[in-house]
């Protein structure tokens, strides 16, 4: 096969556009990690489950398909809250392993419910802008992916606004940095963490819907790869770094598309996972990881 620079740039464009969904997922993982200093492995699965609930509601009720992008995220937010109470809220604070294992359990639990309800077969998902394809010079651009990226940026903007410009964001950051001091400032830290899980869930639900809309189908097969990619994005960005998660999302998106072009779909993920090892060995704190721990 002959690959010229046009192919590479085309792959990069698609990768960056699609990578915005990884950035959203990475941002959600990071928000939760920031709040509790614990990983929620069930995050991507609950995001996809939210998209499923949205899809189910538009097929059961006679409502416009576009509403899937509202019901999906809201459902994912509700699932996020359930995961918080089931896997995090009542776990002993000193025990890192208990919530990790609980959330792994929740991942498979959610996944199995989806498989059971859909008999494991993929369902088609409404596109954001069907059949829109245009050219920018020599490069073809998928209009729906542009929409995906646009909505991703809007969501990131909303999250940034909430975090840095509102009282809720102040409480969230305070709880994340020093939870005892946050309590002493009168911040209800448990409620703040619950809110973070809901917000991250809404974000993930959007990401899930956008991914399903870009691919055209929703399948239980994508929860595990998305979980792993979300984690990779979070680690490469630097655990807890919001900026890092967003940049790493685009990085992974473009990386995976380049390898898709060069090595084909069967080998693509091998190289993405290899990238994780490269980072863990040579830059374990990720791109923007800080050395500052909470005291």
């Amino acid at each position: 096969m002959n690959i010229d620079h046009i192919d590479v740039i085309q792959a990069l464009i698609d990768g960056i556009l699609y990578g915005s969904t990884y950035a959203l997922l990475g941002l959600g993982f990071t928000l939760i990690f920031g709040a509790m200093h614990k990983l929620n492995i069930a995050y991507a699965a609950s995001s996809i489950a939210g998209a499923y609930v949205g899809l189910a509601s538009i097929s059961v009720m006679a409502i416009p398909p576009i509403l899937v992008f509202f019901i999906g995220p809201l459902s994912a937010g509700a699932i996020g809250l359930v995961i918080y109470f089931a896997c995090f809220r009542y776990m002993p604070t000193g025990n890192q392993l208990a919530p990790l294992m609980a959330s792994i359990g929740a991942l498979f639990f959610v996944d199995e419910i989806i498989i059971h309800e859909t008999s494991g077969s993929p369902l088609s998902f409404p596109a954001l802008l069907p059949d829109s394809y245009f050219f920018l010079g020599q490069f073809g651009i998928r209009g729906d992916l542009v929409m995906v990226m646009f909505f991703s940026f809007v969501l990131m903007g909303i999250v940034m606004f909430l975090l840095y410009r509102t009282k809720l964001g102040l409480a969230t950051r305070a709880t994340s940095q020093q939870s005892v001091a946050a309590l002493l400032c009168g911040i209800p830290t448990h409620r703040t963490n619950a809110t973070t899980f809901v917000l991250a869930g809404i974000l993930g639900g959007f990401a899930g819907c956008l991914i399903a809309a870009a691919v055209g189908v929703l399948s239980p097969l994508i929860t595990l790869p998305l979980t792993i990619k979300g984690l990779i994005v979070t680690v490469i960005g630097g655990l807890g770094s919001i900026r890092g998660a967003i940049i790493a999302g685009f990085l992974i998106g473009s990386f995976e598309n380049i390898f898709l072009l060069v090595r084909g779909v069967n080998e693509r993920d091998i190289y993405v996972f290899l990238l994780l090892f490269v980072f863990l060995v040579f830059r374990p704190n990720g791109l923007f990881g800080t050395a500052i721990d909470r005291d």
Partner: protein, 237 residues
């Protein structure tokens, strides 16, 4: 005033407070002395609602604080400046102060801003560093910030847990000058301190806490004449 009766608190199987009773009067500085491990910080955490007591009662200006969660205790007007400051390291000095005002109403926005200016007047170094992350401040500056942050809730009484620990003598003097000022402004203070010489400058009442029990209570004069305390804390023979 703050009135504590037979307070018992434990960490798992270890009983850290074994029936502590003490009073802190309005407008006064009440100092709690004691060696490491005496239960001083446990007492502060129990009073402020971070840890729940097993038994006993905490009465604050006629309201029972026993077993209340930390945010509710703060809303009643009892604020703690914790040991080791515990500032929010990745938030600016200004944001730390805003977090201190978390319990105040949104409608108080102008008043909160005015209070921040008051804090800047009282602690000029915080004004200089207002946009800097709190984690980059020196120990003394962080202590000032922790104090200012607690004051932002407009407490009736301030609990200060070892404000001088780990600070250079010059800074310790500054901290105590501020405590004196706050006392003159009419604020009630409970001060946990190991530096007895400095504590004598400000305190109206002393309690000695040892192994989870109050072993001495009295005025500065009585304390200076107590042989045991003299030997242990004041270096006198």
């Amino acid at each position: 005033m703050l009135s504590i009766n037979n307070l018992e608190t434990s960490y798992g199987l270890i009983k850290a407070l074994k029936g502590v009773s003490l009073d802190a009067a309005e407008g006064e500085v009440t100092c709690i002395l004691g060696p490491n491990g005496a239960g001083k910080t446990t007492l502060m955490f129990t009073l402020s609602g971070i840890i729940k007591p097993d038994a006993g009662s905490i009465d604050f200006f006629g309201t029972s604080l026993t077993g209340l969660a930390a945010p509710k205790v703060l809303r009643e007007g009892l604020a703690l400046v914790p040991e080791n400051r515990l500032v929010f390291p990745l938030m600016s000095v200004r944001e730390n102060l805003l977090a201190g005002a978390y319990t105040r109403n949104r409608s108080d926005k102008d008043e909160v801003e005015a209070d921040i200016e008051k804090m800047f007047a009282r602690f000029p170094v915080l004004k200089e560093r207002q946009e800097q992350n709190a984690g980059t401040l020196s120990g003394g500056e962080q202590q000032m910030l922790a104090l200012a942050r607690a004051l932002m809730s407009r407490p009736k009484m301030l609990l200060l847990d070892e404000p001088s620990v780990g600070l250079a003598p010059v800074i310790v003097n500054e901290v105590f000058a501020i405590i004196k000022q706050l006392k003159e402004d009419g604020l009630s203070i409970v001060l946990v301190e190991q530096n007895v010489v400095k504590a004598l400058e400000v305190a109206d009442h002393f309690y000695l806490l040892d192994q989870g029990r109050v072993t001495f209570a009295g005025t500065p004069g009585e304390m200076e004449n107590d042989d045991v305390i003299k030997r242990a804390y004041l270096g006198g023979g």
